[in-house]
């Protein structure tokens, strides 16, 4: 009986609440997708993909808590460390479109 199984009320546990929160973060990611696709400039897209990556880290962490699977944090860590690589790669690429790397 962990914290996740504690009842919040009306049959919902803390884990269910965390799953709803995770779904909300996914909805926010869908909203951010608009900027990644439409984004008039490449800087918008770089920022959008960075936000999406951070968002995914949060979603994975919440999923790990909600489903009582601490190993999910390992995947969140991979994204936290490699999302940065994606950001610097795209941002350096946007300067003269790969003319400068």
């Amino acid at each position: 009986m962990s914290v996740v199984d504690a009842t919040l009320g009306a049959g919902y546990t803390v884990g269910d609440f965390l799953l709803i929160v995770a779904a909300g973060f996914v909805v926010l990611a869908i909203g951010m997708l608009y900027r990644a696709v439409k984004g008039p400039t490449m800087q918008d897209r770089v920022l959008a993909v960075n936000v999406l990556g951070t968002n995914t880290v949060v979603i994975l962490a919440i999923l790990g808590a909600a489903l009582s699977e601490p190993t999910f944090l390992d995947i969140a860590l991979v994204y936290a460390l490699l999302n940065f690589l994606m950001a610097i790669a795209i941002s350096k690429f946007t300067v003269e479109r790969g003319g400068v790397l």
Binding site: I30, L33, R45, G53, L63, V78, L82, F93
Partner: protein, 189 residues
């Protein structure tokens, strides 16, 4: 899936549904984006959604592979390839739809979607995985005793089907050599 009460099922579908919407939207945007760089960026976002989906379905090894390969490697390699090509400037955000190609893709999708009816639900006790529970349960129960590692996926990869894994490793090695041959080089430099 221990939560069999109906509220839990409802929320499970909520996050699944939102993740599906995210993945399908990113896939469509990748396919239709006019600018290749935008397509690469949105493809990175697609991999984020896929990793979250794999994670939710309790496949952390697959999710970690998706994370490491797509966030770390695929985007960088695609960007490097783009840096060697020339750019075509266009105002439009999306590619105009090629209707014959879209029709062919739609037909393929319809053909695959027909089979979806027969796919059992996630975690369903009627799934073929459980029709012979001796096999699946044996792997889950006996892996540690047989091999001494706790991660069943790794035990299957490295021990129970080690020869296949050797083939995969050689395929990766051959991919490096193939890149050298295609680019007409003798060294990776």
């Amino acid at each position: 899936m221990t939560g069999t009460v109906s509220p839990a099922v409802a929320q499970v579908t909520a996050i699944e549904a939102s993740l599906f919407v995210f993945v399908v939207l990113t896939a469509l945007a990748t396919a239709f984006a006019r600018d290749v760089l935008a397509a690469v960026i949105v493809f990175g976002a697609y991999s984020l959604g896929m990793a979250a989906l794999y994670t939710f379905y309790r496949a952390p090894d697959v999710a970690m592979t998706e994370a490491a390969i797509s966030a770390g490697v695929t985007t960088v390699l695609l960007l490097l390839t783009l840096a060697k090509t020339t750019r075509i400037d266009h105002e439009a955000v999306f590619e105009s739809v090629n209707y014959p190609a879209a029709g062919a893709a739609g037909l393929l999708f319809a053909g695959l979607a027909i089979t979806m009816v027969d796919v059992p639900a996630v975690g369903s006790p009627d799934a073929p995985v459980w029709s012979n529970p001796d096999v699946t349960q044996w792997y889950l129960a006996e892996t540690y005793a047989e091999t001494g590692v706790e991660n069943t996926v790794m035990a299957v990869l490295a021990a129970f089907r080690g020869f296949d894994t050797f083939g995969e490793a050689v395929v990766v090695f051959a991919a490096g050599i193939a890149a050298l041959i295609v680019l007409r080089r003798e060294v990776f430099a």
